[in-house]
Amino acid sequence: MSSPGTLARSPDSPGRRAWMAFRQHRPARLAAWFLGAAIVIALLGPMLSPYAPEAFAGGQFEAPSWRHWFGTDVHGRDVFTRVLYGGRLSLAVGLVGATLSLGIGVLWGAIAGYAGGRVDSVMMRAVDVLYAMPTLVFVIVVVTALNGLLAKWETAGAPVSPTFARVAGLLLGIGAVSWLTMARIVRGEVLSLRTRPFVEASRALGASDTHILVRHILPNLAGVVIVYLALTVPAVVLYESFLSYLGLGIQPPAASLGTLIAEGAAQINPLRIYWWLIVFPAGSLALALLALNVVGDGLRDALDPRAGR
């Protein structure tokens, strides 16, 4: 936690204290800088690379060189450009998917925990049943069902671009499975929060349930939610890449890091090794996950009151 010096200097709130602690977590600070840089690079992607991601920029399977930093793939596309675009898509999906799972999980858990009694047990049994399902089967069904629905809309004349529809289906599918743990954690917190004196005081003053939930319960959840959100982002990035690797997510010619790894894995053969097709996308994914996880660890150390070790 923060050193006595900083404590003495600033009249601090818990949030400020956590921020100080986070800034003093050296690996997390490094990782946060790295992530920031990665996001900037991903956003600037089109300006950094002279090639379009789907353009045939060179010969087939060119090894990395000054012209093509990460080499070229089976169609002569520039792998560096494709990693840039793929990384951008993966990060975006990770952030949006994690936010989605946050929304569902917090709502579900807060309502169950606050309502208590029968509502609580029904809601949490539903979570238990979903937990006992293999997530993969669940995601596949949700994603294909949503894709079918979107396809129907498209034929009905709604202006939906296929890539956008794909991403939307993928996001909803991931969101639908990744909120379970969040719901459990939030419910546990709410159960303990709602018996605290300040909540009882507010109720005694005649506050409505909505008021108590919004003004007292949700703000007190912030710490635990932020920590878990930070750990959900890498999990969602991982899931997106995994589904794309299986061919269920982003479809060619668009690419996420997962599709790129799958394309590279498909080119493994005993005669020639096109290592750059695997090493660069896989390495980028691993580095991004590493940075996200380290930042998550740092946030947890900073925000978790029990983590003062």
Partner: protein, 304 residues
């Protein structure tokens, strides 16, 4: 004993709930099991639907399915004609069990010591290196580890065969591919658990009694420090034993992980529900085993 019986009895309604959820869910998905084949005349399609009871209302289909389930029959596969789901699972399960079991041993065998030594040397070089290895491992999912391992050890160095399922040599790469990620997860849980335990009052007491550091760490610390790993082991083992699509696909191994994905994609209804049930049974039984072991390790836990 009564506790175990009650838990076992409790599994029945949960399993029924899960089977129904899976049954309903897979049918909500668009398309059917006979879609991809060439167009068949309507009367044949009608016959097919009648044979697999697809013409009946949903609740009746489920009732028929439950009837079979009670007798231990998971029904016929709708994709692989003339094969029962039971037979397909019986053929693939031993392979998936072998790989999954070995990967589990690998994950615990490397993750537990790594986390343990990192924790008891907190802040030292061992800890920093160990934590770095662990966090790197959780950034290497199977579909990243697999292709790289194949490329380096299979194709380039030719130490291990890259595919098929023949000898003990064939298990090395798949098990590593599957195990690395989970070894990282286990190591992190172990370190965390040990650190939390070493702050407890009874550790101070043990030290005050003059016990050697080794006795403190092993006899008192480890027992409780390993608990987070233990509770993670239930779901982990259920996951690993039911096979991994990536590993089985990449190494062309005839397990059931491939069916898990393909049958969902092909809308092979009985196959999906059968596999979901298999996973659920494994998960529930393993979680029960975990809870029992918990009571053995932590004297404060009592099952009533």
């Amino acid at each position: 004993m009564r506790y175990v019986l009650r838990r076992l009895a409790f599994m029945v309604p949960i399993l029924i709930g899960i089977s129904f959820a899976a049954f309903a869910l897979i049918r909500l998905a668009p398309g059917g099991p006979f879609d991809r084949e060439r167009q068949v005349p309507p009367e044949i399609e009608r016959q097919l639907n009648a044979r697999y009871h697809l013409d009946q209302p949903l609740w009746r289909q489920y009732w028929i399915y439950l009837g079979g389930l009670v007798r231990g029959d998971l029904g016929p596969s709708m994709r692989y004609r003339n094969h029962a789901v039971n037979d397909i699972i019986a053929a693939g399960l031993p392979v998936s069990l072998t790989i999954g079991g070995l990967a589990f041993c690998f994950a615990l065998g490397t993750g537990v010591p790594l986390g343990f030594y990192a924790a008891i040397r907190k802040g030292q070089l061992t800890d920093q290196l160990g934590s770095l290895v662990a966090i790197t491992a959780i950034c290497v999912p199977t579909f990243v580890a697999g292709p790289i391992l194949v490329m380096v050890f299979g194709v380039k160095l030719r130490w291990f065969p890259v595919a098929l399922w023949d000898s003990a040599w064939h298990t090395v790469l798949p098990v590593l591919t599957l195990g690395i990620y989970f070894a990282g997860r286990v190591a992190r849980l172990m370190r965390e658990g040990m650190l939390n335990t070493l702050h407890a009052g009874f550790i101070v007491t043990a030290r005050a009694k003059g016990l050697s550091e080794n006795a403190v760490f092993w006899r008192h610390g480890f027992r409780l420090g390993v608990l987070p790993v233990l509770s993670y082991s239930g779901p982990l083992l259920a996951d690993l034993l039911t096979g991994s699509f990536v590993v089985e696909n990449l190494f062309q191994i005839p397990g059931i992980g491939v069916f898990m994905v393909n049958s969902s994609l092909n809308r092979d209804y009985p196959m999906v529900v059968g596999l979901v049930l298999l996973y659920a049974v494994l998960l529930l039984v393993l979680n029960l085993a975990v809870d029992l072991l918990y009571a053995v390790l932590d004297p404060r836990v009592r099952h009533e």
